[in-house]
Symmetry: C2
């Protein structure tokens, strides 16, 4: 089950297009199990009653379909947030604000931060940024956090990870006021997420995005078998807690699990968040299962200008033939994460101002 | 899967002795798989290297054996705590103290409280008690908690549940200082339990007792399939988090799970904490699995002076024929819970006094 072996088997070709082949096909009509034919544009998976049809489609068509709709979904959620931001501004004159603290010059981190700022702009959320040099002291970072904690125009604070190795990450994250911890990683938040009858202030963005995807596509969770692959603090563990809150029967697969394939094949919903290129093969998927791929693994690709392409934890080419719905990488969960960050910032502003 | 039906099927007789038939039998010798014969008293499951033999025994003998040893285990743990309490007193003159707040006159609660006080006495921990009348105000309870929070001779505070209905339980529990919350139910504790790389101040007593049982009997957890039946805040959820910390592959079965029997039958370790008399039948257990029964359900029994007897969530009579080890009810997990309460009080005193 070594990653390299799996990767070689599943995607020996470096042609990125082959991983998402269906995004290029277009068929104007979709046929359901009972023979009813719809023009594609009339089937709206955003509305549950319509998206039930989605589950009846042949898997290969469905994945193409999901892919196209995912972008619309992102636009739709952003639209909803923008409308609410505007309503709040009109009613009480408050504009939600998100502050991002970036330390050092990692190109990837800078890209993420600029994506977040751009997304804020689109929905009308104010964004603030502090960019500290790689050799900044921990105290300088703590000072920035403390400033944002006290700034009433800031409702969410995000420290872009990873931090330089000379800083104590836990110490820095602990300094973020829990009322502004839009990442939702504070242990108090996680505790409330785990406990019945408690409500966390914020739900971590990527797990929240996974559940939102299922909801928006009208995919039932209650009573379903769900397998989460990976048990990280930022995705696997909280998404398992969320699925359980939604009454799924949850199993968590991790590096010590014997025969992860067998357990995964029992799942109606598979969420892969393990960071291993193409680890989840087609044979791991139960026919008709819904697959959410959280992995974003860079893989060398000489045909790309950047020299690499992004690949998920799931072997898309195999899984799409078996699953009833699957998220692509990139373009699946990623955009949802940013949308949920905006959503959390809005929630924070509304709570602080009792709106 | 209604409880009454299950109960009727599994233990239609009201003869309590039939549920724990093996506690009365005595066979002087135990034979392992490879034919080696030990006198019972020489096999000490407290020491892992010896208790490995336990797993090789015929199931029926093993359960009798486990039952007898459980009491010794309780004694052993209490002995260890008593020794540590003494060592602390000798070294720094501090005696750990546990405060219990009891409200109202529920007989069951009074029994639990007196058991806890008695256990404190046995190991040399000071115990304090406040007993308020049923019609006490919430403020009176909060005042008692606040007094104990500030009292340096108190290292653990326990509010006996349930509280009278006119009180806000969450509000009262939140008032207990997290440094003295030996029950470990604070969301911050639960959050730290869920997160990798974090350590809770206290692990909730019953879940901790379950894991301690597995450890003391040398039952491996790492890489094993574990099924937790029930997802309560006080047992199911935290015990699942603990099993995961020990590298088990954990699934949680609950009221919305379809076909719980099928999933449970995959487990090497079953922890039942659902509060349904005899819900887990023999057919739910994989041959050789280890079963921990946390349920304590009172069942009418006219032959008993009290008019009832206590029965677990597992149909013991059936399960003991299939499991390789099983805890009885009563006398299995219950005594471990109290032992872990003592352990948590000791841990608290040691932490507060940096010992």
């Amino acid at each position: 089950m070594s990653a390299s072996m799996v990767f070689t088997d599943c995607s020996s070709s470096t042609n990125a297009a082959r991983l998402l082949p269906l995004r290029r096909r277009r068929s104007p009509l979709l046929r359901t199990n009972n023979g009813v034919v719809f023009p594609r544009r009339l089937i709206n998976p955003i509305r549950p009653e319509a998206s039930q049809f989605t589950l009846l489609l042949p898997p290969s068509q469905l994945s193409a379909y999901s892919t196209r709709w995912k972008r619309k979904l992102q636009r739709q959620i952003r639209g909803e947030i923008a409308a609410e931001v505007l309503r709040m501004k009109d009613a009480i004159g408050i504009v939600p604000g998100l502050a991002v603290i970036l330390v050092g010059d990692r190109e990837e981190s800078a890209t993420y931060v600029s994506k977040k700022k751009e997304a804020c702009e689109v929905v009308g959320i104010n964004s603030f940024e502090v960019h500290l040099p790689e050799d900044a002291t921990e105290q300088e970072v703590l000072n920035s956090i403390s400033g944002f904690n006290e700034d009433p125009s800031v409702h969410g604070i995000l420290v872009q990870l990873p931090l330089p190795s000379h800083m104590d990450e836990q110490n820095i994250l602990n300094a973020v006021s829990i009322e502004k911890d839009v990442d939702g990683f504070h242990p108090l938040n996680i505790g409330c997420l785990a406990m019945r009858g408690r409500e966390p202030l914020f739900v971590p963005c990527t797990p929240k995005g996974c559940i939102e995807l299922l909801h928006r596509y009208g995919i039932p969770i209650k009573g379903k078998r769900a397998v989460v692959i990976g048990r990280s603090n930022i995705v696997g563990m909280p998404v398992a807690l969320l699925l359980q809150r939604e009454d799924a029967t949850v199993s968590i697969v991790h590096s010590r699990t014997k025969n992860p394939e067998e357990l995964t094949r029992q799942a109606d919903i598979v969420i892969a968040a393990v960071g291993q290129t193409n680890m989840v093969r087609g044979s791991w998927i139960k026919p008709g299962a819904v697959v959410i791929d959280v992995g974003i693994n860079p893989v060398e690709d000489k045909k790309k200008l950047s020299g690499f392409r992004l690949v998920g934890d799931v072997c898309y080419k195999e899984a799409k033939e078996i699953a009833s719905a699957i998220t692509p990488v990139p373009g699946g969960v990623g955009p949802m994460t940013i949308a949920m960050l905006l959503s959390n910032t809005l929630i924070s502003a509304k709570r602080i101002h009792n709106f």
